[in-house]
């Protein structure tokens, strides 16, 4: 499965690059991450909880950053295995200075998925991956804001609270449902259900009245 896209960060390239190299920030961008620690230069090991539709479980994996051209681009290689299956992927990430104080991040990659994730989660993987990435960017935007604010005010402490696992899951669900209301059948349901409720209410009232 191919993953590609781009995102604009409100901050200079160096700050964005620094943020990406901070395992705390990366870990918080995807709640469900139980741990992410550096085991060697540009090598991380981590554990993560994953839920896609009816499939859930924990993953352990390795993340290797290679072909590093600071602060322009790098290649990320992920190899994760767990009870719901396995996921292997390679992605290329680019950071482009837009010249106006913002940074454009472009990414493209390939993921190979197997096990229960692939056999049962198939029709959800695409959309869940996209919404997870979208949510992750929102978290990173806030994290970047907090870091820049801290820098500006000269304080050491970065005032930033990453969302909890439940908050994140709720945001992903809302995101997906947001897309859902664009589907006509779902729209129709949203009219029919209150209509049915009103009819039931009327029926009850009438029965009550007819003594």
């Amino acid at each position: 499965m191919k993953l590609e896209g781009e995102h604009v960060f409100n901050g200079p390239r160096e700050a964005v690059w620094e943020m990406f190299y901070d395992p705390e920030v990366l870990a918080s961008a995807l709640p469900g991450t139980q741990k992410l620690e550096m085991v060697a230069e540009n090598e991380y090991e981590g554990a993560m909880n994953v839920r896609i539709g009816p499939v859930s479980g924990s993953f352990t994996g390795k993340l290797v950053i290679s072909d590093v051209v600071e602060p322009e681009s790098c290649t990320l290689t992920v190899d994760g295995r767990g009870t719901p299956g396995f996921a292997k992927g390679v992605g290329r990430v680019q950071f482009i200075d837009q010249g106006d104080g913002t940074t454009l991040m472009k990414y493209e990659g390939e993921m190979n998925i197997g096990g229960a994730l692939a056999s049962v989660g198939q029709r959800m993987i695409d959309s869940v991956a996209k919404t997870m990435i979208r949510q992750a960017f929102e978290v990173l935007d806030k994290a970047l804001e907090a870091r820049l604010a801290a820098k500006a005010s000269g304080s050491e402490v970065v005032d930033f609270k990453p969302p909890s696992e439940t908050e994140f899951a709720a945001a992903v669900a809302k995101d997906m449902a947001g897309g859902l209301t664009k589907i006509p059948e779902v729209r129709l349901l949203m009219y029919i259900i209150p209509l049915v409720a009103v009819l039931v209410l009327l029926a009850v009232l009438f029965r009550g009245c007819s003594g």
């Binding site: 479980g57 009870t83 998925i113 197997g114 096990g115 692939a118 056999s119 049962v120 198939q122 029709r123």
Partner: protein, 782 residues
């Protein structure tokens, strides 16, 4: 002989209990001290196993044992062949790589078991599976049939020189001569996809070992109790009589339940004995998709040699057949494709050749139709292609080439799955084709209805196809008929039932012979404790082979009854009749003896018996045909395609079928309905899809679509014909798979007809709205 019951649509005797829920399916069975099994399955389609760490799983409370291949030692070896190899076919080559009960060193398909957990409950067993850590070294997966045979392809079985599992080439006449004689040679390539059996009830097994009686009891919804018993006994070093296999009520078989050496059969029997506790395993739906056998993909390269007037001179069919990671079922499915390609038509020269290919996918074994539909698909599609090029209608070209009614017996020169030359025993294809055209009102549709609707912008289309179905093949089946002291009759047979109404149809046959009420005949199937001989339920052979054995056994009992009654009533046998549960003098009905009393008299408690006499009113009979009986028919289908969504709705279907004598016409209709549903699934909904890494991406009903009641044709008309088979006394032919066979052929033709202005031609047997759209765009662009 005209019977009171055979040929009548008696309501099914098993239905009252089934409908009120008074029956027992496998998962209903609970035994004291019963343990539960779960399998840890491979996520990779092709990988080496570097290590398996089960230490944490073993520590989980409630886990009795966790086992890998290492723990079983020598017990783990490739299983037995489910069918014998095709040595009868000259020049056939094959290798046997049969199913491994558990992966050892290497996994060859996604879903292959690498460990088994036995625990106090299924929940604990599955939790323990999550604690098993397997270190895999992933290998490149073999998924494309043609690439798999190219040099340099990864090998599924590394001890073999290639992924070729077998090769068969059969020829009738000479294809080379046909090409010379022909005016035109048409070439096409077809893709046939993979389908699951998807029975409503998943597979499962319960095994109990009694260590004092040294007796094993197995409950399993298997399609062959005898094979399961014999293979289990052989594996465990027991007598066959020490193993009893019982089938509870079974929720559908459709083919995959014919396997008797899959991992659960092999491992759970062993562990039940070793742990001395009963063990139950029932698969969940995802396991059913991943790890229960499914059926085929094939790639066909076909050439049809014809004359300008549409007469077929010859057909050549070269194809690749996917057997999955192992091939315990050898070549049954592709042989069925071979033997059903030209069976409806006069094809003087026929060359058919296939290669069986190993891939990193699930093992292929028959599913309803068992490959027959692809032979039919090839022929019907080539006829349609020829009709197009010659400017003939699909009806014209078929009429020109159908075998006439006096062609029988017709020797096909092609050897089939029963390893003898296929012989068409009887039939009348032109009449069934004509009847179909009348029932679907072909001329009226093409001349009046279709033009009118097309003018309104409705894309309606019609298709017609002919098919045949080889049924009732050997080797044999047997039955025992016994009259009880209460005058009622028990029939036992080694044949198994998954819902085919055997409890009614076999009773009808016996009731006719013995003059009893059909409700007084009890049928017991699929229990080796009662009857220990037989091959199994497959290839639509129940009513033909087991039904005939039942008939012969009942006849023997009838003879015994007449002989004994003649002595007791002091009247010659010719003057006696069996009716209303008694034997009586036909002209003096008051002179009678009840069957029950007769049965008791036949089993004296004291005194002497005549030398050579057998006690009781009981007889066993076996029946094995020299070759299978061929059912046949034709189907017509009218559909409408939505021009924007490409959704196809089935407006009307006319299905004409000839199964010889129908023992119970209502049951025959039911079989046809069920087959049609599976055929519609094959044509438009069902597809097992493996990605390029060998991952099955359609492992639930969310993705594997199944036709529902609302997807059946709005109008379904069944027509019947009877050309009795000369091969058995009742003239029966099988019908179990008929409905499924011609549907993909007629469906594709009808859609092409509906979209004829685009010139679209389909080369696949499974369509979908998006596929139709893509093909139409390509046709328009071309």
């Amino acid at each position: 002989m005209a019977g009171k019951y055979v040929h009548q649509s008696i309501l099914r005797l098993e239905d009252p209990e089934l409908i009120t829920g008074n029956v027992q399916f496998l998962d209903d069975i609970e035994l004291p001290g019963m343990l539960h099994a779960a399998f840890k399955r491979s996520d990779y389609a092709h990988a080496r196993i570097k290590s398996i760490d089960v230490s944490e799983a073993r520590k989980l409370p409630g886990v009795i044992g966790v086992y890998t291949a290492e723990d079983f030692g020598d017990y783990i070896k490739p299983g037995p062949l489910q069918v014998p190899p095709p040595t009868a076919i000259k020049g056939a080559t094959y290798v046997a790589r049969t199913t491994m009960p558990i992966a050892k060193d290497k996994v060859r398909f996604a879903g292959e078991p690498v460990a088994i957990v036995i625990a106090e409950s299924r929940y604990i067993a599955e939790d323990a599976c999550d604690l098993i850590y397997v270190d895999y070294e992933p290998l490149e997966a073999v998924v494309d049939l043609e690439k798999a045979l190219q040099p340099g392809s990864p090998l599924v079985h590394e001890d073999l020189p290639s992924n070729e599992a077998g090769h068969v080439r059969q020829e009738r006449g000479s294809w080379e001569e046909a090409v010379k004689e022909a005016d035109l040679v048409i070439k096409r390539k077809f893709f046939i996809n993979r389908n699951a059996g998807a029975a409503m009830e998943n597979r499962g097994i319960i095994v109990q070992w009694d260590k004092h009686a040294k007796q094993m009891t197995i409950w399993c919804g298997t399609q062959s109790v005898i094979a399961l018993r014999n293979q289990t006994a052989a594996r465990l070093g027991l007598f066959e009589s020490q193993v009893r296999v019982i089938t509870p009520n079974t929720g559908g078989g459709f083919g995959p339940k014919i396997n008797t050496s899959l991992p659960d059969d092999v491992l759970i029997t062993y562990l039940a004995m070793k742990l001395d506790r009963p063990i139950k395993w029932v698969e969940d739906r995802r396991e059913n998709f991943l790890a229960t056998t499914s059926e085929r993909d094939q790639v066909h390269y076909c050439e049809l040699a014809v004359k300008r007037d549409g007469t077929i001179v010859g057909l050549k069919d070269f194809f690749y057949h996917n057997t999955g990671a192992y091939n315990p079922y050898m070549m049954t499915v592709p042989l069925n494709s071979q033997t059903h390609t030209v069976t409806n038509y006069r094809v003087p020269n026929f060359l058919t050749e296939f290669y069986v290919v190993f891939t990193n996918q699930m093992i292929v074994t028959p599913v309803r139709g068992a490959g027959r539909q692809y032979g039919v698909f090839v022929m019907e599609r080539m006829l349609d292609a020829a009709a197009r090029e010659l400017g003939m209608s699909p009806v014209e070209i078929r009429r020109k080439n159908l075998l006439p009614a006096n062609a029988y017996p017709y020797y096909t020169s092609i050897i089939g799955q029963d390893f003898v030359e296929g012989v068409l025993d009887s039939g009348d294809y032109p009449t069934s084709f004509q009847k179909t055209l009348e029932l679907i009102e072909y001329d009226k549709f093409v001349n009046e209805v279709q033009p009118k609707l097309r003018a309104q912008g409705k894309k309606v289309g019609i298709g017609v196809a002919c098919f045949s179905e080889g049924t009732g093949v050997g080797p044999y089946e047997g039955a025992r008929v016994t009259v009880g002291g209460n005058g009622k009759v028990v029939v036992t047979t080694g044949y198994t039932s998954q819902g085919q109404a055997h409890y009614t149809t076999f009773a009808q046959i016996v009731a006719d012979q013995l003059g009893v009420d059909v409700k007084d005949v009890k049928v017991i199937t699929g229990d080796t404790g009662y009857f220990g001989w037989g091959a199994g339920t497959f290839a639509s052979r129940g009513i033909t082979v087991a039904g005939t054995a039942t008939h012969l056994a009942a006849q023997k009992v009838r003879q015994k009854a007449l002989k004994l009654a003649s002595k007791i009533l002091e009247a010659p046998e010719e003057e006696l009749e069996l009716a209303d549960g008694v034997v009586r003098v036909a002209d003096i009905p008051s002179k009678f003896i009840s069957l029950g009393d007769l049965a008791n008299l036949a089993n004296p408690m004291r005194g002497t018996m005549e030398p050579g006499a057998e006690p009781g009113l009981e007889a066993v009979a076996y029946y094995g045909p020299p070759y299978g009986a061929t059912g046949a028919g034709a189907v017509g289908l009218i559909i409408e395609v939505d021009p924007e969504t490409m959704q196809v709705s089935l407006e009307k279907m006319a299905f004409v079928h000839d199964c010889g004598t129908p023992v119970n016409p209502m049951v025959v209709d039911g079989q046809i309905h069920g087959g049609i549903q599976m055929g519609i699934g094959d044509a438009f909904y069902e597809e097992l899809i493996y990605d390029e890494n060998g991952q099955l991406v359609t492992a639930s009903f969310m993705d594997y679509l199944f036709p529902q009641a609302t997807d059946m044709p709005k109008k379904l008309v069944l027509g019947h014909m009877e050309t009795p088979s000369p091969l058995n006394p009742l003239g029966i032919k099988g019908v179990g798979e008929a409905g499924a066979i011609p549907i993909p052929s007629v469906f594709v033709q009808a859609v092409e007809n509906a979209l004829q202005e685009t010139g679209v031609e389909f080369d696949r047997d499974t369509l979908s709205p998006s596929r139709i759209f893509t093909y139409v765009q390509q046709a328009k662009g071309a």
